[in-house]
Amino acid sequence: MSNLNEHRAGRLHGIWALTNRELKKWYKAPVIFILSIIQPILWMGLLGKALNIGALIPSIPGVDPGAVLLKTLGTSDYFSFMSVGMIAFTALFTTMFSGMSVVWDRRLGFLNKALSTPVSRAVIIFSKVLSATLRSMFQAGVIVLVAVAFGLQFGPHFTLLNLLGIFAIMFLVCVGLSSLFIAITIRSTRIETPMAVVNLINLPLMFASNAFFPIDKMPYDWLKAIANVNPLSYTTDAVRQLLIFDTNWAQLGLDFAYVGIFAVIVATISIVISWRFLSK
């Protein structure tokens, strides 16, 4: 018999075990996995293709609908424009569930059990953040592939390296969003509470952004103001700069800086709040 637990691990141990536990629920369940891939396909196929904005512009002689769209949206194809919005949409929806899984773990007692092991409190929280982030990044990759299959038009400077940039911005925004949702839900013991919170804020966050419509064409200043502080706007813009626009490097830098600062600040505050709450 050994004396104490002889394998006293470092402060970060267990992070992959806990993250993988979350991910297994997804990739080991074929139905959920396939649905999570089909969902963006349906959205893009139906919404993206149904909203044929180009067809609304009458073919007056001398007016090229493509040129009009290029001027307002930055790309001549609305489908390309909104399929990138879908990537932000996926990030939002997937990270929302990180909050719910905390509630489940509380109710089923797994959280208490994890808290009674030497795993650090921050690791417990961060594993939730990480699993939601990895899941979103995978789905973003799927969306890009599907969008390409549906006729996404790449920007003139697109290279495969730009894909890494897309994953990077997704990583940042998902870390920020999922820690935010976890901080909101960590105190609740009922699954209804995070559901209500999430339903309240997800659509406003979605539509008060440039995901489906350009901000400078929005009708109200207050709406523009909200859209201009919404991190989803910056995420979407970054992905567009990388994927479909004629890349504006200064704007791309600003996008990354904004989302990066958002992620660091929100994740820090959220993890501190959650950590405090768990060590009650």
């Binding site: 637990n5 394998h7 992959w16 536990r21 297994k24 629920k25 089923l108 030497p118 060590s279």
Partner: protein, 333 residues
């Protein structure tokens, strides 16, 4: 010889500034014993265990586990204890083996060591044949055994069991007791458990603390507690409608008599010898005994004596609660 493994001094937890769940309790658990916290729902058992396993901070007082302070050296405490929670915390979507390995990862045990230990533990709790089956196919008893295996993966010196047989049927409960006894023998562990089953405390625990309203009312071995009551309980009824309390009280070895629902509840030493004398003295005065029963004291009588109420009432709501938890676990998928 008796080395104190757990020691609590004035341990108190107050929720929301006025709800005192645990009220200045003092106790110590010796090395190698099974120590039981017995009490009804809401008595403060789980709050106490949660403080000892460092997931709740005490409001006042202190406690130590293997010499580590639960508030200041909580990480050290977590390294040396094993916990078997009340709920079935195993992940339904993972297999039995995967669940044990997940627990091993939480303790930072390297994979090769973990695998070997996991196989040994699954053998111990007789789940080897089911190690690659998903937990959602497991019965209640199998899940409880899996929780035991998870709680032992870090070879704890002290194992905490919160209601280890809640919601299990009688056979499975007896089987689980056997596993717990084996664990104690095989690993020389100290066990701290809570229960609201009197039979369980009686069958399993070396010492029992009865807790009620956040306070420990009495501590002792089940035998001492039962004998401390002053003997057996004789219940009898007479045909005549008369008060014979004083008459019975005069019989030798009778300690106490109470009239309850038309029958007399008599506390007496050496019950089987005393009962005939009681019948004899009643008959001499012309009374006829119609019914008589003799019971040796159980912990329920002890509980009744110290808290003034029966434990049975709390039980039903508890069972329903456990069933609900299990249903919820299934609903998650």
């Amino acid at each position: 010889m008796s080395e104190e493994v757990i020691k609590a001094e004035g341990l108190t937890r107050i929720f929301n500034k006025h709800l005192t769940a645990v009220d200045h309790i003092n106790f110590s658990v010796n090395k190698g014993e099974i120590f039981g916290f017995l009490g009804p729902n809401g008595a403060g058992k789980t709050t106490t265990i949660n403080m000892l396993i460092t997931i709740l901070k005490p409001t006042e007082g202190k406690a130590s586990v293997l010499g580590f302070d639960i508030a200041k050296q909580d990480w050290n405490v977590r390294n040396v204890i094993g916990v078997v929670p009340q709920e079935y915390t195993a992940d339904e979507d993972l297999t039995g083996l995967e669940n044990v390995l997940l627990c091993a990862d939480l303790y930072g045990i390297p994979r090769d060591v973990a695998k070997e230990r996991a196989m040994d533990l699954l053998k111990l709790v007789e789940l080897t044949d089911f190690k690659d089956k998903k937990v959602q196919t497991f019965s209640g008893g199998m899940r409880r055994r899996l929780e035991l295996a998870c709680g032992l993966i870090n070879r704890p010196k002290v194992l905490f069991l919160d209601e280890p047989t809640l919601g299990l049927d009688v056979q499975t409960r007896a089987a689980t007791w056997n596993y717990i006894r084996t664990l104690k023998k095989e690993f020389g562990m100290t066990l701290f458990m809570t229960t609201h089953y009197l039979e369980e405390a009686d069958a399993l625990c070396d010492r029992v603390a009865i807790i009620d309203h956040g306070k420990i009312v009495v501590v002792g071995t089940p035998e001492d507690l039962k004998h401390g009551l002053g003997g057996d309980v004789i219940t009898l009824a007479i045909k005549e409608d008369a008060d014979v309390i004083e008459l019975i009280r005069k019989v030798e070895h009778v300690k106490d008599v109470k009239k309850e629902d038309g029958s007399y509840r008599i506390k007496a030493e050496f019950g089987e010898v005393t009962a005939p004398f009681i019948i004899e003295s009643l008959r001499k005065k012309g009374y006829t005994v119609t019914k008589l029963s003799l019971t040796e004291p159980t912990l329920n009588e002890v509980y009744l004596e110290y808290t003034g109420k029966s434990m049975r009432d709390a039980e039903e709501s508890r069972e329903a609660f456990a069933a609900q938890r299990i249903t919820m676990g299934r609903a998650r998928r």
